[in-house]
């Protein structure tokens, strides 16, 4: 009975729910879901700019999500963003390397040479029919395509620095973590990327 008395006293003193391990795990899962839903579309577009292929971009984003969830979900949520983009950039680089090898092999093979990067893009294909702001959307699409073309012409590290800093809004320290280099290198890559892009697009924009 003494035990019950102690227990009831404890209940009287209790003024809030103690964080049960199960609840904490659910909160963590919800936090991860929120993070992934925030970054997934932006990550897809970043991958698409680099890879020029929708399905490849989806694959590397999915892979990055799985790897983050499997290996780093227990880490503090503040660390997820640079880790996620590091995984993503590694995935993009791996895929580009595999493509380069495949392209070299294909060059030795007989038959028609196809380059998926050279497919024609219809600037009107993504403009909603009959939209009230169709000309504005078209101009926006064209401007983005020009930016993408110029980004693809940049060295990979400059492109990464620009997309992570400008598109994703990572600060210098986060970008350095995501790129696996020093903060000084990030500043150099970013500065050169902006300089080159402005030279190429300044007149068009």
């Amino acid at each position: 009975m003494a035990g019950f008395a102690t227990l009831s006293q404890a209940w009287m003193a209790w003024d809030g729910p103690a964080p049960a391990p199960k609840d904490a795990a659910l909160d963590h899962t919800k936090e991860l879901e929120k993070f992934l839903s925030e970054v997934e579309r932006r990550a897809f577009r970043i991958a698409q700019v680099s890879l020029r292929d929708e399905d490849d971009a989806l694959d590397v984003v999915q892979d990055a999500m799985l790897k983050l969830a499997r290996n780093y979900s227990a880490k503090p949520s503040a660390e997820w963003r640079p880790l996620f983009y590091r995984i993503l950039e590694n995935g993009i680089r791996d895929l580009q390397r595999r493509r380069a090898v495949r392209k070299r092999l294909m060059a030795w093979m007989p038959g028609p040479k196809e380059d998926p990067d050279e497919e024609a893009v219809d600037p009107l294909e993504n403009v909603a029919a009959g939209g009230s702001d169709a000309p504005g959307l078209l101009m926006q699409e064209q401007a983005m395509r020009q930016l993408e073309t110029s980004l693809r012409a940049l060295p990979a590290r400059q492109r990464e620095a620009f997309m992570l800093r400008n598109f994703e809004g990572l600060d210098v320290a986060q970008t350095a973590k995501a790129m696996g280099c020093s903060e000084g290198s990030v500043k150099t890559h970013y500065s050169r990327a902006v300089h080159t892009l402005r030279e190429q697009l300044g007149e068009v924009w």
Partner: protein, 135 residues
């Protein structure tokens, strides 16, 4: 410096607009990918919670297979008795009636499991041609 800032801002706006214009197919696949990742992050704990869902389905399926074996082939380990095609066909139709319930209504299968001795005995009787004494 201001020109550079406006250049950067313009690029950011274009990117944001392109993110907003991502089509439904891609959005759907991204959602699926997110759920798969969350499933991995949840680990065995949440997967364990799902166990009863598939295990009940597996139980019903296993009961169905057992009933089929008893009904058509007789008890395992005994030689298979040749049966007239019509009898076998009727047995299959009866089995379909019993097994036609879905997972949410597994009562017929439970009945089958509860009276398994009776069905075993009935199958033996049918196989030995002594069908007259059954019901």
């Amino acid at each position: 410096m201001n020109e550079q800032s406006s250049f950067e801002e313009h690029g950011r706006r274009l990117f944001e607009a392109s993110v907003e214009n991502i089509d439904m197919r891609v959005r759907s696949r991204l959602t699926q990918a997110r759920h798969a990742a969350l499933d991995v992050a949840a680990g065995p704990r949440l997967r364990f919670l799902r166990l009863p869902v598939w295990s009940s389905a597996a139980g019903v399926t296993a009961a169905g297979v057992l009933a089929f074996a008893l009904w058509v082939g007789g008890p395992m380990g005994q030689p298979h008795h040749a049966q007239p095609v019509a009898d076998t066909q009727a047995g299959l139709e009866d089995l379909e009636l019993v097994a036609s319930s879905d997972e949410n209504n597994a009562a017929p299968m439970e009945m089958l499991q509860n009276d398994i001795d009776f069905y075993e005995w009935a199958a033996d009787k049918t196989a030995s041609g002594d069908s007259g004494s059954i019901g």
